[in-house]
Amino acid sequence: MKLIRTATEPAPTQKKDSAGSAIDRRTFLKRSGITLGGTAAAAALSPTMMRKAQATIPSGGDGTQTVRTICTNCSVGCGINAEVNNGVWVGQEPAFDHPFNLGSHCAKGAAAREHGHGERRLKYPTKLVGGKWVRVSWDEAINEIGDQMLQIRQKSGPDSVYWLGSAKFNNEQSYMFRKFYALWGSNNGDHQARICHSTTVAGVANTWGYGAMTNSYNDIHNSQAMLVIGGNPAEAHPVSLIHLMRAKERNNAPLIVIDPRFTRTAAHADLHLKIRPGTDVAIVWGILWHIFENGWEDKEFIHQRVWGMDEIKKEVANWNPDATYDVTGVRPELVYQAAKIMADNRPGTFIWCMGGTQHTIGNNNTRAYCNFQLALGNMGKSGGGTNIFRGHDNVQGATDFCILSHSLPGYYGLSAGSWKHWSRVWDLDYEWVKARFDPAEVEGDKGKPVSPMNYKGIPVSRWIDGVLEDKANIGQRDNVRAMVFWGHAPNSQTRGLEMKKAMEKLDLLVVIDPYPTVSAVMHDRTDGVYLLPAATQYETYGSVTASNRSLQWRDKVIEPMFESLPDHTIMYKLASKLEFGPEFTKHIKVENDEPLIEDITREFNRGMWTIGYTGQSPERMKKQQAHWGTFDITTLKAEGGPCDGEYYGLPWPCWGTPEMGHPGTPNLYDPSKPVADGGLCFRARFGVERNGESLLANGSYPVGSEIKDGYPQFDHKLLKQLGWWDDLTDDEKGAAEGRNWKTDLSGGIQRVAIKHGCAPFGNAKARSVVWTFPDPVPVHREPLYTNRRDLVEKYPTYEDKKRRYRLPTRYASIQKTDHSKEYPLILTSGRLVEYEGGGDESRSNPWLAELQQDMFAEIHPSDANDHGIRDGQMVWVEGAEGAKLKVKALVTRRVSPGVVFLPFCFGGHMEGRDLRSKYPEGADPYVLGEAANTALTYGYDSVTQMQESKCSLCRISVA
């Protein structure tokens, strides 16, 4: 497909004067006013102004249609007005009226149209035969893959096929993918969230109920202070900066950045704390030390809504300024300043990203952050909250649908009750579903026998161990023998050399992706690799969940290019081949092998009660999509118009059925609003008492609650006790009998609870101490590969674990070896604004690729001089497990002395070898480079198996 732009109606004008005279002056001035209004975003953005903008966009006049879609890069969820003419994506206009981005885009969003013209795509199903790529038909590919999988299933059980999904799926595809491997009979499925924010989800959800961004990008307008730790939104979420800038300019809100690098975000900060990588807990406790020391904590808030803060206080007491300085390297006065700023300017928001999560103690980090906000009383407030910026466009949605190895959609877990709930939603016999799984029990994480159906599968971070580890040591019948990369780049996972080995050991490797990805080339296989072209999200439609829990409807811009097919179509084809097609789409209309998206939405609406994905029907989402401009850009609430009273994107939890009309919850746990209008309290998730103390909230409750105190979660018994049972209709009673708010498929329990002003999930305290985790109180532990050997004794890592997520997991046995002599430098990684994730997609986009043509390593001038390295020279960066990368040196003070930074968005080189020739013809990205993760090392979070990719060790030398 070639880039064709047809002319819009030419206005006949004379040469030379054309540009001037052709402008309709009035329209023109309006436009300039509007852009400037937009530019003033932070100034006087009134939604009315935005509406005018929409009204003045000329329609092109020659059959050009404007399609409203959502950017497929990051989780900000920017709206795009795509202009399509005759099936060709001819133009891209800013969506000034979109409540999140107000027309703005970063480099990636502004280059979205290239998708409609890109040639570096996987064009047709291809398989590797004798080292050569051979084109095959879809049927051939599906049949061959299916036959091999069925064979493996027969011989080794369903757990030997690994289903690696993607945060690039839309919600419907995510849901179908989770259902897909559930019906295949395995929990061996996962997606990017594991290596992205899994520690956040675990840490945050275990503190107060839900593991998601509590407020929204827009709500940052109300912040009086902003603290960003382990995040570089200026590169990772550039459009979010428009909201931070507004708080900075309008509220004079100070911006504090805590990061080992002087990032582009730090360049705009008022205070930058340059910590040693991997010392997040230490710095947070160090700041909190001043807050407790000076009595700046919010005592009333803690009394009413927090359990266990005293134990936190005890741990924090160890982190006096000296101890903090010793561990983090940040000068005490700066730590004090940070504490003072956060204490003086409330509410303050707390933002974090991968710099905080990707650690062996990632869950400790995230809980430390939560405790920080709890101590300051910043939770459940507009302008406060933990604003966790998620990564991919739909990683929030894909996480919510639990394309994970340890849960079912809606975080229901893997217990028999959860399976029964979903079997009811799917209208399948639970026993049939159960029979899909390997029947033989295995030894679980806790040493007790467990059925594979109820046993957490192998996480994506460890799939290579699932292949390479001795069969006797793993918690399933056989090793992983077939691997399906369905929209997932391998270069985003650590231990590249072992991954290469694992790929070569597999019986079958299937890549389903719009791009061949590094999976196609990084191994030296000659057979048994299939590449199936998937359509991008611009080539299908459905809903997508932004980081702030808002669900947006995304329209199809163009038809799938080349021979690519939408993911859900491929799922259906494969499910049919694998003999569960009818069950897979039992209540979903299928046309030409494509399941109907709206039917899928309605199906998950029927089951996702836990997190309120039940009220967002396709109709409601489409209505909002048509009226972007009616939502306020700070509160996200529609004022007037067809969506009056609703919050944009019906941010979950959007309780009850669509008919109930819940407006969504803009800020979690905010008791200043009635539950019916998006208010909430902390979730009663951890029981009602602990060590004789009540865990329920103490005198705090959402406005309008009829119960003026804490209460447990709602079930049929509680309703009856309260005398509210008869508020249910007869039908609802039938469905609710014996159920609770999570399993009542009628939504009656939720409806009645909310009718009485109560949150269906109860009203409890947040727990500062997560007694179910390895470190109930978050503590600092040195990374496995650390060059501060003097701290290892005081802050040791965990003992090795015999089995976690089916695999032996090592900690102390690695840390005890001192690598700091051979590998003296700290290695950390991060992203670039031009690229996303593994970068296969963005490096195939020439508009973006031109801006980042070389993989590089940031090296401090002093280290560069020590090693005789000059800026721009090629160097070897050797990771502590021996993998070597040949990259360009970028000598800069952005990093501290002793720290080397690598961007992780490159791939296609392996230890100095250019793999371009191994790509299928015409499908190689424009830019290739060493994958940073090749050199990154072993290390996994103690709760979620998040990989450690933010601090390891390395050495450098001139190449």
């Binding site: 004008t13 402008i23 309006k30 400037l36 206009e93 502004a110 100070p254 360049a267 704390l273």
Partner: protein, 199 residues
């Protein structure tokens, strides 16, 4: 009479390069030609600031005065454009321009640069407005459609302003006012011993 201007607010620019790709997108610019670029000062050091630059559409443009064939002209909106049919690709405008705006498709031996290409303020060229020919040679003509340059319209943080000079300066002035006392602190207390941070 409106005079078109760009202004980049360095306090807001985060070097996301959205303006660069927006320009490529709207004008179908080939690899190697960048009508707009983001320059970062003090890259990686304290005081790092970025500014997006392209043709600034000078009212007495140096490029126009040095052009040996006089191919430049200024539109009624104050946009400096050039006629590629007249341009001989000599490169003089590139020497003269303070901003490095003029771009050449190649820079090979024997001075073979091809016709000069530069930011048109999304106002096309001398061809008929929004004709295929105009688009091929100069890219989009958004002004004729009543729109402003896409780079500014899509700027991630609204750092890059474009439009009628009076309005641009109004917006900017308003921002500076809002920053108020903060302007002194702005970006300078970046952790390095300097006073002035709130708190």
């Amino acid at each position: 009479m409106a005079r078109m201007k760009f202004l980049c607010d360095a306090e807001r620019c985060i070097e996301c390069n959205g303006c660069v790709t927006a320009c490529k997108n709207e004008n179908d610019i080939p690899w190697g030609v960048n009508r707009r670029r983001v320059v970062t000062i003090n890259d990686g050091n304290h005081g790092e600031r970025s500014i997006s630059v392209a043709c600034m559409h000078c009212s007495d443009a140096p490029c126009a005065t040095v052009c040996p064939v006089d191919c430049f002209y200024t539109t009624n909106d104050g946009v400096v454009l050039h006629d590629k049919d007249i341009c001989i690709g000599c490169g003089y405008c590139f020497y003269a321009c303070p901003f490095g705006a003029p771009q050449f498709p190649d820079s090979g031996a024997f001075g073979s640069r091809g016709k000069m290409d530069k930011c048109t303020f999304c106002a096309g060229g001398p061809e008929q407005n929004n004709s295929v020919e105009e688009h091929r040679k100069y890219g989009a003509n958004r002004l004729a459609q009543g729109k402003l340059p896409l780079c500014a319209e899509m700027c991630a943080t609204k750092a890059l302003l474009a439009g009628d000079g009076d309005r641009v300066s109004d917006i900017f002035r308003e921002r500076v006012m809002y920053r108020g006392a903060g302007a002194l602190q702005w970006g300078w207390g970046v952790a390095y011993d300097k006073q002035g941070i709130k708190g």
